[in-house]
């Protein structure tokens, strides 16, 4: 984790401050993802807590129920986890192999934080599914997922595209598109019970 300098203070009051500071840093990065602007905060002070929280939330919401043990159900918790982290690592390696000048953890941080719109989409889809199945239900979910998918792509390319030389930008951005497409597909095909 990138550590900011400890401000001088009483040595005895050190323990509650780092947690609040980290939570604030995570929250600030969430805001940067929701309103993507050309700022360097996400890249400079990278951390992996935000991606971990988002990944665990998404995996918990997507996993199939333990009662529903049929072989061809939705993904297990571990499968979602593996897809997200393995996918992010693969995209980062790809970007570095193509000659990008972004560091390994910075790229993981950006990709992980940009799952936030899709996690919000998952929450909305679960709420919408409580209203019962139907074609209108599906249309609403499809619309929400498409919008959030576009948001994720825009947010991540705003941070990642500048790190690549211009003649290889599309090669570095395409795997990001594939990654968020697979996550969106998992969210859209989620059926409860």
């Amino acid at each position: 984790m990138a550590e900011a300098e400890e401000s001088p203070g009483d040595p005895g009051t050190a323990s509650p401050r780092p947690l609040m500071r980290d939570l604030k840093a995570v929250g600030k990065k969430f805001m940067h993802v929701l309103y993507p602007r050309k700022s360097n905060t996400l890249l400079r002070d990278w951390d992996l807590w935000g991606p971990l929280i988002l990944c665990v939330t998404l995996a918990l919401m997507l996993q199939r129920d333990s009662a529903d043990s049929e072989k061809d159900g939705g993904p297990q918790f571990a499968e979602v986890f593996v897809i997200v982290w393995f996918g992010a690592v693969t995209i980062t390696l790809n970007s570095k192999l193509l000659g990008g000048n972004i560091s390994f953890f910075q790229s993981l941080c950006v990709l992980g934080y940009c799952i936030l719109p899709l996690t919000v989409a998952m929450l909305i889809c679960r709420l919408v599914l409580l209203a019962g199945p139907g074609p209108v239900n599906f249309m609403v979910r499809l619309f929400v997922v498409i919008v959030m998918f576009a948001w994720s792509i825009v947010a991540s390319t705003a941070f990642l595209a500048d790190s690549q030389p211009p003649n290889r930008r599309a090669l570095a951005v395409y795997p990001v598109f594939l990654f968020y497409f697979v996550i969106s597909w998992m969210i859209l095909t989620f059926t409860p019970q």
Partner: protein, 317 residues
């Protein structure tokens, strides 16, 4: 021969001038193909190099001098990151160009010599396989959704395990089959003198890019008309296998006829098996759609004679 001598002398002078200016430059062969890492690109197209054997020999002499110089400078070990970076040294336009080349195979144009030009990349094979695996799983699931709309008795489920199956089978095919092919070609190397076999990476590249045509084929398989699906499958398989055969032909034609024919037919057969396997495993939901209507049609006539007879039989009792 005087004209040819003048030409070769002139080229030698140019090459040495260029080398003096930029010691790291790669040499170019007659048809302006860029070389890297000390390879010599010899254009062995079918029938376009009749009078050029002498020039080829002169160029290979020059090129071997430059080759040694280059090899001293650029050979990072396989444990360094830059070794692997050399396999991703492609631009967007080059990747698109190679994809177009695999979609439209032409008899004279060897994919390896014409498009790869001694710069095989791993980007294309890796991401084309990943895309194909995910597209297979997604469209297979979509056909189940569409089939359920038509016939509500079919049970829909996300079928997530198919992603794993698709991924493993596509990657195994795209990496193990080229390995076997490369091994076999190297084993038969003694039979051929002039044309060397392809490197392992070039074989992987050829297979990887040839799988690209399956992606639109799989998407088009969403249309639930069986004969159209078989037509698309045959077209895509034809294009893909033609690309492979045209690429392998120059390497294999100097071998005995039996070996050449056996190798090419094995390659085409494996490719066909892959396509058929994809169709049968991921697009399974069609048979229930065809079985259901005959059952409904068969059950109706048996109902109709029963219902008029039942009241009649019930009435007297």
């Amino acid at each position: 021969m005087a004209a040819a001598d003048e030409l070769t002398f002139h080229e030698f002078e140019e090459a040495t001038n260029l080398l003096a200016e930029t010691p790291d430059a790669a040499t170019t062969s007659r048809s302006n193909q860029p070389t890297s890492q000390g390879h010599v690109a010899v254009a062995m197209g079918s029938g376009d190099s009749y009078g050029a054997e002498d020039e080829v020999e002169e160029e290979s002499d020059k090129a071997s001098l430059l080759q040694e110089k280059q090899q001293q400078q650029q050979q990072p070990g396989f444990w360094t990151f830059s070794y692997y970076q050399s396999f991703f040294d492609v631009d967007t336009s080059q990747v698109l160009d190679r994809i177009k080349g695999s979609l439209l195979p032409r008899p004279g144009h060897n994919f390896v010599r014409h498009y790869l030009r001694n710069q095989p990349d791993l980007y294309g094979p890796f991401w084309i396989c990943a895309t194909l695996a995910f597209v297979l799983a997604v469209t297979g699931n979509l056909t189940l959704v569409l089939a359920q709309r038509r016939d509500p008795s079919i049970h829909y489920s996300p079928q997530f395990h198919k992603v794993t199956v698709a991924g493993i089978s596509i990657y195994c095919y795209a990496w193990l089959v080229p390995l076997a092919l490369w091994g076999f070609l190297r084993w038969r190397k003694g039979v051929r003198e002039r044309v060397g076999p392809y490197t392992f990476l070039e074989t992987v590249c050829v297979y990887g890019y040839s799988l690209f045509v399956f992606i639109p084929m799989v998407v088009l398989w969403l249309i639930p008309v069986p004969w159209l699906q078989w037509l698309f499958g045959a077209l895509a398989l034809g294009l893909s296998a033609a690309g492979l055969v045209f690429t392998l032909w120059p390497v294999v034609r100097e071998d005995t006829r039996l070996v050449a024919a056996a190798l090419l037919s094995t390659v085409v057969l494996l490719h066909a098996l892959l396509a058929m396997g994809c169709k049968l495993y991921f697009f399974q939901s069609l048979p229930p759609e065809h079985v259901a209507p005959p059952h409904q049609a068969a059950s109706l006539p048996t109902n109709i004679p029963l219902s008029p007879t039942l009241p009649r039989s019930m009435a007297p009792s």
